[in-house]
Amino acid sequence: MTIDEWYAWAVANAERRGLPSLKPLLDGLRNATRELREADWNPDAARDDDRESH
């Protein structure tokens, strides 16, 4: 799920649950999540050097 897809779902869900005031907080969480997903520590399954041995 992309950040934008997640955000749209979360806002719609919050409104359906009667919590429209969650929207500005979801804005902040979206920004944090975007930064988190772009961080350089995240694994990339297509790259050999991210594979862990099992």
């Binding site: 919050a14 969650l22 907080l25 902040g28 999540t33 930064e35 988190l36 520590w41 694994p43």
Partner: protein
């Protein structure tokens, strides 16, 4: 009016005077209870006052001292306990109506240890509801006020705890720290606050906020007092000399730069740089090295999904059953946690490992890292943003957490000591590999910054 001024007494001084017969534990306790009677209606530091328990404990302490039974440095010392920690037979409200009707069946482990050390419990202190905030404003029992300026927050979430010590209602207190909740109110109120290394002290009997972040620790007037509290909380009432970490004569110190000092209030920057200048000649090689932590600026983005998801997990059932029992702002934060995806929580987990490795690397060549505790002084009650010296307005909550939360993420011990200022208090934060080293170097800084 009592002849004893608990506001000016350290634990060490009080312990000496108790043993010299200058006053009794009962007299000291009554002096604290008088302060509570006089000032708590204004400061709102306490949710529950345990006066009868305190009197019984103080009388017992006096009887024991008379017969030569000395439990150690906390024997007969009045302290307060944050009302998120269980004291048997009293409610643990967590400053929330969600907890109405609760009565603790037994002491939290740390409370039991303090009881065995002879401490006297004068009451349970106010906090930000369920410790989910930094100002103490969102409490079902109303905001606590900063005794140094009652128009300002005492910080939080352990705001009532800090206020109770500064106002002389007790000599020390116990707080909890998930993102800074011991260090923030300590810095805002001019106290020493110790967040031990994660896992050092038992959180058994403490209402959780973020189970991978939560720590308990003391707030006190001096590093020595904080260390006495820490040892007693751990069940080490009488410390063998060998347990103490010797302070290096000239410790190897680093000042954290970059992210950690980019945006401060002017008085915080001035006090911090003055402290670095004062400490530098005494440090190893007469230098304090500037150090940057590569991923530090991602700390808020790592912290947010971590604390939100962990908080939501604990509160999910009551959010469904009694949503209106929460203070609205706190309820919304816990609800927000229900939208954190598992994959993002795990990304944050990886980020914590990255940060931890970077702090550990900095601590291989330095005994301790120094930085401001908060970028701002105690904010006015009701403020939503605060001005910083780079001309920007920052949200209060984000600013208050910015410099403390990295060390909850990494688990490192961190201690704040008050710096000399002409106005509101400013804290210096000291981070080390282990709790005793952090405290020992904090004591060294305290002695050189006076």
């Amino acid at each position: 009016m009592s002849r004893i001024d608990p506001g000016s007494l350290t634990i060490v001084a009080a312990a000496r005077r108790l043993r010299s017969g200058d006053f009794t534990a009962r007299e000291l306790t009554e002096a604290c209870l008088d302060r509570i009677d006089r000032d708590n209606p204004r400061l709102n530091a306490f949710i529950t006052i345990t006066a009868e328990l305190a009197r019984a404990q103080a009388d017992k302490a006096d009887r024991e001292l008379k017969t030569g039974h000395d439990r150690g440095p906390l024997h007969g010392i009045p302290i307060s306990i944050k009302d998120i920690i269980d004291i048997a037979d009293f409610p643990t409200t967590a400053a929330s109506r969600v907890r109405d009707g609760h009565v603790a069946m037994e002491d939290a482990r740390l409370v039991l240890n303090l009881r065995h050390a002879g401490a006297v419990f004068v009451g349970k202190t106010n906090l930000h509801e369920f410790a989910m905030g930094t100002t103490n404003e969102d409490s079902a029992y109303g905001p606590a006020r900063n005794p140094l300026d009652e128009t300002r927050s005492p910080g939080g979430s352990s705001g009532g705890s800090a206020a109770s010590v500064v106002a002389g209602m007790c000599l020390a207190t116990v707080g909890t720290d998930t993102g800074g909740s011991i260090r923030i109110p300590s810095a805002a109120c001019g106290l020493v606050g110790l967040k031990p290394a994660f896992g050092d002290l038992s959180v058994d009997g403490v209402v959780p906020l973020g189970t991978s972040l939560d720590c308990v620790g003391p707030l006190a007037k001096t590093v020595e007092d904080a260390l006495l509290m820490y040892d007693a909380m751990a069940g080490r009432g009488q410390i063998a000399r060998g347990d103490r970490v010797e302070t290096p004569v000239a410790p190897r110190l680093a000042a954290l730069r970059g992210y950690f000092v980019e945006s401060l209030q002017q008085e915080v920057r001035a006090a911090f740089e003055a402290a670095i200048a004062r400490l530098t000649p005494h440090a190893s090689d007469g230098a304090i090295a500037p150090v940057e932590i590569a991923h530090a600026r991602l700390s808020p983005s790592i912290y947010l999904p971590t604390v939100l998801a962990e908080g939501a997990e604990y509160h999910a059932r009551t959010l469904e059953q009694m949503p209106d029992a929460y203070v609205t702002a706190v309820r919304l934060r816990f609800e927000l946690g229900r939208y954190v995806l598992a994959e993002d929580y795990l990304r944050a987990h990886r980020g914590r490992a990255t940060l931890r490795a970077e702090i550990n690397a900095a601590l291989t060549t330095h005994d301790a890292l120094l930085l401001p505790t908060m970028p701002l002084v105690a904010p006015p009650l009701g403020a939503t943003t605060v001005p910083m010296d780079n001309g920007r307005e920052e949200p209060v909550r984000a600013a208050m957490l910015r410099l403390t939360q990295p060390f909850n993420l990494t688990g490192h011990p961190a201690i704040t000591i008050p710096l000399p200022t002409a106005g509101l208090p400013v804290g210096l934060q000291i981070v080390a590999r282990d709790t005793k080293t952090a405290a020992a170097i904090a004591g060294w800084c305290e002695s050189h910054c006076r």
